[in-house]
Each structure stands twice: as structure tokens, then as C-alpha cells.
Amino acid sequence: EAGVTQSPTHLIKTRGQQATLRCSPISGHTSVYWYQQALGLGLQFLLWYDEGEERNRGNFPPRFSGRQFPNYSSELNVNALELEDSALYLCASSLGRRKGVETQYFGPGTRLLVL
């Protein structure tokens, strides 16, 4: 069974540009979570999508947004990139909110570098 996949693996942008990161969950999972892991720091929760809707959001500015598609894959968009947005962005999936608190399984991440 395929795990969580993310693309691209690496992304280089300049300040002010927009970045789009993609995530495909494990088959059968309806929840997708996005986390930011800056160098030397822990995981910061960004967004949670379940069954196509945004269910929860972390303490990030509105220029961090996303969506979930009918097939439960997800995009994370970061507008007006800033240098401090450089980080590893991790996507995770789980069985979904109707199942209660379920294990989150993580993808390999997208490393975003803003120059």
C-alpha cells in the first residue's frame, strides 16, 4: 500500500513569489494535515482538512492557505513568500474525524527554500 506522497521534494523560490505544495494521502484516508518544520525547530501545525473542508488552522498568517480536492489530495499555497518561510513542509493523513483521533502518517516532506 502506498504511503503519503508529496511533491515536489524540493522547491526554490524568491521573496514575494508564490509556492504550491501537493500531498496525496493514503488510500482510504479523508484527513490531511500540514505542518511546518523550520530548521532546528519542532513541528508547527498549519492546517487540517477533512472531507473537503478546512477543519482547523494553526497560528499562521492568511497567506498560508490550501484546499482539499474530492479525491482527498491537498494543496498548500504560500503567497508573498518571505525568507522565514524556508522550511520542511510535512503532510500527514489519517482516517478522518469521524473515526476520532487516529494515527497520522507522514509523507517525506517538501523542502522549500526562499531566496
Binding site: 503519503v4 484527513s31 494535515y33 505542518y35 525547530l41 519542532g42 513541528l43 501545525f45 487540517w48 477533512d50 477543519r55 482547523n56 520542511l88 510535512l90 500527514a92 489519517s94 474525524r97 476520532g100 483521533v101 487516529e102 494515527t103 497520522q104 502518517y105 507522514f106 509523507g107 517525506p108 516532506g109 523542502r111
Partner: protein, 113 residues
């Protein structure tokens, strides 16, 4: 406020010795507790979880963790460390009906040969 604490930034252990990576939590309601491991430049891998039942939970790669409700702790343990166990370990707590994970700051485990 919900929180997870990993009091040690780094733990150093000799190969073959037992290891413990500490985690304490503060949540309202029943906690759902998880341990993950992260190897360099990789995503997180699930190790084990506690939902309910026996306080001692066994997971992948010979790891286990003990849930202690009175001390609000969920320490990760392994009887005999391997050099290949060297990695970054994260404790996380999930809140029922909220589905938001709170992650600890991570503990770097160094196992020396």
C-alpha cells in the same frame, strides 16, 4: 492550554544500554499519545500509540512506552539501544473530537558505538 513537553533536547546512550526519552503532557480530557521518529531530511515515522488499555505499549523497532496517568508522562524506552536508533524523536498528543496533534519540541537521540 494543551501542551506536550520533551524536557531533554538531547539524550546520549552507549550501544547496548537501555534508553529513555521523556515526554510529559498537559491536556483536558483523555489523551491520545503518540511517538514518532524522524531520520535526517525525512518525514516522521509512526512508532507507537496509547489510546486506552494497558499502560505499557509496544511499538516498532523494539520500542515501548509507558503511560503514567498520575505523572502525566509517556516516556519512550528500549532495553538495548542500537547505533541505528540515532534520530530525532517526537512525542505528540491528540485531543478527542478535536483531531489536532500537539507535538513536543523533539529529542535528539545519539547512540554511540
Amino acid at each position: 492550554a494543551q501542551s506536550v513537553a520533551q524536557p531533554e533536547d538531547q539524550v546520549n546512550v552507549a550501544e547496548g544500554n537501555p534508553l529513555t526519552v521523556k515526554c510529559t503532557y498537559s491536556v483536558s480530557g483523555n489523551p491520545y499519545l503518540f511517538w514518532y521518529v524522524q531520520y535526517p531530511n525525512r518525514g516522521l515515522q509512526f512508532l507507537l500509540k496509547y489510546i486506552t488499555g494497558d499502560n505499557l505499549v509496544k511499538g516498532s523497532y523494539g520500542f515501548e512506552a509507558e503511560f503514567n496517568k498520575s505523572q502525566t508522562s509517556f516516556h519512550l524506552k528500549k532495553p538495548s539501544a542500537l547505533v541505528s536508533d540515532s534520530a530525532l524523536y517526537f512525542c505528540a498528543v491528540g485531543i478527542d473530537n478535536f483531531n489536532k496533534f500537539y507535538f513536543g519540541s523533539g529529542t535528539k537521540l545519539n547512540v554511540k558505538p
